[in-house]
């Protein structure tokens, strides 16, 4: 292993390379399509960034978090504070510090700021709740989501409360979102194969054994929590600059559900699962949405009632959990394709908890 040949390096990077190629191919094909498809693809890529970010924590640590959409909210608002027109800020967001009210920053510093603030909050919150046991910790993250929602919907002078922040420059198109999604994939892969990632996965599979092998479980969990919050915060900043308008309720239960559904459908145990989950759930949701809008067959409009999109997604998710509990990928990464089928290693089952 001291002199890895080029071929073995490619093979080690293959799970990542394959995913990046797949995502790029989807964007390239979609870029030939119409306006509506571009919007769908952009949203999908932003969600990919977010879900991959969530995966870094949930997938590697095995601890369920309902709070990550709170980090998305924090990132989105922080980035919007930086890029929105100063005259509007001075009128509506009088609670912001002066330098933020008067200044206007570029898109990239804004996104970085969004990620950073989310990471800071995660550091503070995480040092507290990483000490709790799995289930209590999950509920604490849910409480965190409720705190974020309550604060951002009511803090009029900083978030414009229920009247929402408007005029966020909509600079995020498919290729910008693509760049961030690829970045997220690379980062998640690097984390996963780093020693922290390995230690964290060891603690996921057997906490006691990991502890007795000198893994500082709480510390590695906290590192993953912060890294993952930064990625999700960046995703939130992208989402704000895609929607152009921000309301705290965008970042609440529905989005939490959709992102978790993506993770579970694909399989929480692998990076490939996060990516495949995002793609599959996006397709399912789009199909249901079109059926909700209606199909015109021979002059009559047949359509599903409002809400069937959500119900359909819920049912798909329940079915996956019952019939394929470790997701579509069963917790595996994308295998190296150039070996005889018989020589492949047996798939490893990865379960949460």
């Amino acid at each position: 292993m001291s002199h890895p040949s080029r071929a073995s390096l490619i093979r080690r990077l293959w799970p990542l390379v394959a995913l990046c190629l797949g995502v790029t191919a989807i964007v390239a094909v979609a870029s030939l399509g119409g306006e509506e498809l571009q919007v769908t693809i952009t949203e999908m890529l932003i969600r990919l960034t977010v879900v991959v970010g969530i995966y870094v924590f949930i997938g590697n640590s095995g601890i369920l978090s309902f709070g990550h959409i709170g980090f998305m909210c924090i990132g989105a608002y922080a980035a919007a504070w930086a890029t929105v027109d100063p005259t509007w800020k001075q009128m509506m967001l009088t609670g912001l510090p002066d330098w933020l009210q008067e200044g206007q920053f570029g898109f990239l510093p804004a996104v970085a700021g969004g990620g950073l603030l989310a990471g800071l909050v995660a550091l503070v919150l995480g040092s507290a709740i990483m000490r709790l046991s799995g289930i209590a910790g999950s509920i604490a993250t849910f409480a965190f989501l409720a705190i974020v929602n309550s604060v951002y919907s009511n803090w009029e002078s900083v978030t414009a409360g229920t009247s929402s922040i408007i005029g966020v420059p909509t600079v995020v198109g498919p290729w910008v979102a693509w760049a961030f999604a690829i970045g997220a994939l690379v980062l998640a892969h690097l984390f996963q194969v780093s020693r922290f990632g390995l230690m964290l996965r060891a603690s996921r599979d057997d906490e006691v054994a990991a502890k007795s092998s000198a893994v500082a479980v709480i510390k590695v969990r906290l590192i993953a929590f912060v890294v993952s919050a930064i990625m999700v915060g960046v995703g939130g900043a992208l989402y704000g600059h895609f929607l152009g308008i921000l309301t705290a309720d965008t970042f609440y239960l529905s989005l939490t559900f959709v992102t978790l559904a993506m993770l579970v459908v694909g399989g929480v145990g692998s990076l490939a699962g996060a990516v495949i989950g995002v793609v599959v759930v996006t397709v399912v949701v789009e199909v249901l949405r079109h059926m909700e809008a209606g199909l015109t067959v021979g002059g009559t409009n047949i359509h599903l009632p409002q809400g069937s999109q959500e119900i359909g997604l819920g049912i798909v998710m329940a079915l996956i959990m019952i019939f394929r509990p470790s997701g579509l990928t069963r917790g595996r990464e994308i295998p190296w394709p150039f070996i005889a089928a018989g020589a492949r290693r047996k798939p490893q089952m990865v379960r949460m908890g």
């Binding site: 095995g62 601890i63 289930i135 209590a136 604490a140 705190i147 009511n154 803090w155 019952i322 908890g353």
Partner: protein, 304 residues
Amino acid sequence: MIGLLQNLVDAANLGSLYALAALGVGLLFGILRLVNFAHGDFISIGAYALIVPSFEVTAQLFIGDWNWTLMIPTVTLIVVIVALVSDALVFQPLRRASAPTLMIASFAVSYVIQNGILMVYGARPKAANLWSGLDTPILLGDLRVPLLQVITIVVTLGLMGALTLFLKRTRYGVMMRAAAEDFRMAQYLGVNGNFVIGLAFAISGILATAVSLLYLSQTGTLSPTMGVPLALFAFVAVVIGGMGSLLGAVVGGFLVGFVVIMLQAYLPESLRAFRDAFAFMFVILVLLVRPTGIVRTRAFIERV
């Protein structure tokens, strides 16, 4: 002094609602290790079952208009059926799944129920007038206590007493306690697992109905997500009470109710909008000081 007493009565009232909701959540957690997100939606269903399905803003009472001796059993039956069906369709196939998987599954059930309500009744909050005759205040000296609050507290104490008697004195109650202590051992000794779990879902449905009726008569509004904050406070109550302990769930419920009311009463005006945020922060603090909760249980100590 009167102000403080008044607040304490309010706290007992809200605490009762949270304690009832927490009991429903705690019961299932004890036996199944299931943190049931759908419990809040069982509560919403109990409320929505009372009205005529429509997209109108003002709700027309239907079952809610019946005489209470008929209405309460009917609504309870509806909620219990929903609880049992969700067990049969989703949780029964997942009996061997891990706790996080169960939690996500219940999240999915909750999402489906919420959107089902939305599909039939519309997304807008509705006003409904249930038992409006009951908000006449009772005067105790200078203290004005709405009759409804008294009823809430009395009903809660009654239900808790009944549940305790059931668990301690009846054959099925003993089975449930055995299952909560050690599910597999109880099965070896002849306890029918699915029956006991079904029973737990049914009781949790009954408790949810009590919350929906009391809550609706106090607030007078319905919305598809009305159960979410109740469920959230219930989880929190279960966690800080000590997971797996029913006494802990009740203590936690009353504690959370007390904290919320005191924050509402004594926070400065400008911060009052953030009441819930402060309440949840308090919860996280309690957990840091006492990660295993207020009432410790043997069942939940992780063994190597």
